[in-house]
């Protein structure tokens, strides 16, 4: 059988199939709008008042649905591993000389990006942001260094140590919760609600988010470095 079609037929048939599917779905969606009901999230909002965290999304991400976050970290970890595996065998590509402005600007910008990343990471329970966003911002700082200085390379042993430390401590925090309060990832640290809004509040939540931030930052740095392909994997 020959499936080769000319481009026009392909475009029209693709258009028709996609349109048919979407119109069907859209018809149902417009017919039945979202009902006005009490959802699980509203109950969780009421509960977040008790755990001393100002950003309810953080308390959902890290605590109420913390297990999803652990899974998400695992996905990122596996993806970084896979990318390292795929792109490891190549030789270093020669790097073009980056221009003067980029070099000078990166020297000024890098500390600021890092500071901002760490701020977003640590204040995740008080303001929008948190481990993921902060980690990725830190990784983008690393990226700036990678493209502006040809001799720079992410120190593999340091990243590996950070990553291992963060991953192990996340699971261990979960297991300590299991042993202390009989719930995996349970909140076993004392948390005083009157402290809400302070940096040290919310018990185990900021702790986990910082660990997540370290893990995401190191994984993303590795991914970025592998993609720029100056990798020397083990």
């Amino acid at each position: 059988m020959n499936f080769k079609r000319d481009i026009a037929t392909r475009t029209y048939s693709g258009f028709a199939i996609a349109a048919l599917l979407i119109l069907t779905i859209l018809n149902i969606l417009l017919q039945i709008g979202p009902p006005d009901i009490q959802r699980a999230g509203d109950q969780l909002l009421a509960m977040s008042a008790d755990d001393g965290v100002a950003n309810a999304v953080t308390s959902v991400v890290v605590y109420f649905r913390g297990f999803d976050t652990l899974g998400e970290i695992a996905v990122l970890f596996i993806a970084a591993l896979g990318i390292g595996l795929m792109l490891s065998a190549h030789n270093r590509t020669t790097h073009e000389e980056s221009n003067y402005i980029l070099k000078k600007a990166s020297r000024m910008l890098f500390p600021m990006i890092m500071l901002f990343g760490v701020y977003v990471m640590i204040y995740g329970h008080l303001s929008p942001g948190g481990g993921f966003q902060g980690g990725v911002i830190v990784a983008s700082g690393v990226l700036l260094l990678l493209i502006s200085r040809e001799e720079f390379e992410v120190p593999h042993s340091v990243i590996s140590a950070l990553e291992t430390f963060a991953g192990i401590s996340y699971v261990l925090i979960g297991l300590i919760g299991l042993l202390v309060v009989d719930k995996f990832l349970g909140n076993f640290l004392p948390n005083n609600i009157s402290q809400m809004g302070m940096l040290f509040s919310g018990g185990v939540i900021p702790l986990i988010y910082i660990v997540v931030g370290i893990k995401v930052g190191s994984e993303m740095s590795m991914i970025v470095q592998n993609l720029i392909q100056r990798s020397d994997d083990d």
Partner: protein, 130 residues
């Protein structure tokens, strides 16, 4: 005149319809790309557009215009009249997962190109059935 237009678009059901139609049209664009494009990167791009479309649909459907973001501060001292935080947390997770899978896919594509020099999805047929 402009006032009336603004008020019209601020109505609850108009916003709902906007969200539904807008996100589904975006989904359509992605799906169309998936069916018609042939370059591997374009295919990844189309799937990413589909993902963004359903994320927008979800957040938009849950969103209540009169409520605030689920964060204390700016005069809010209690967790009432706030938007539902669970969808936000879910989308946060889904965005990161989507990016991870997508980065992996791109690395597969790069490696495949290095070995065979092909980037066209129609040419990927090392194992054509006899």
């Amino acid at each position: 005149m402009i006032e009336a237009l603004f008020n019209y678009f601020n109505q609850e059901y108009v916003i709902r319809a906007l969200v539904d139609v807008g996100s589904m049209t975006l989904f359509f664009v992605g799906f169309f790309g998936l069916l018609t494009q042939r370059h591997l990167l374009k295919i990844f791009m189309s799937i990413s557009v589909m993902e963004i479309a359903i994320f927008l649909f979800f957040i938009g459907s849950i969103f209540n215009k009169t409520y605030t973001a689920p964060i204390l501060g700016d005069g809010h001292t209690a967790f009432v009249t706030m938007n539902d935080p669970i969808p936000h947390a879910m989308i946060l997770t889904a965005i990161v997962i989507g990016m991870a899978v997508f980065a992996l896919g791109v690395s597969f594509a790069i490696e495949y190109y290095k070995l065979t020099g092909k980037t066209d999805i129609n040419d990927i047929n090392e194992m054509r059935e006899k």
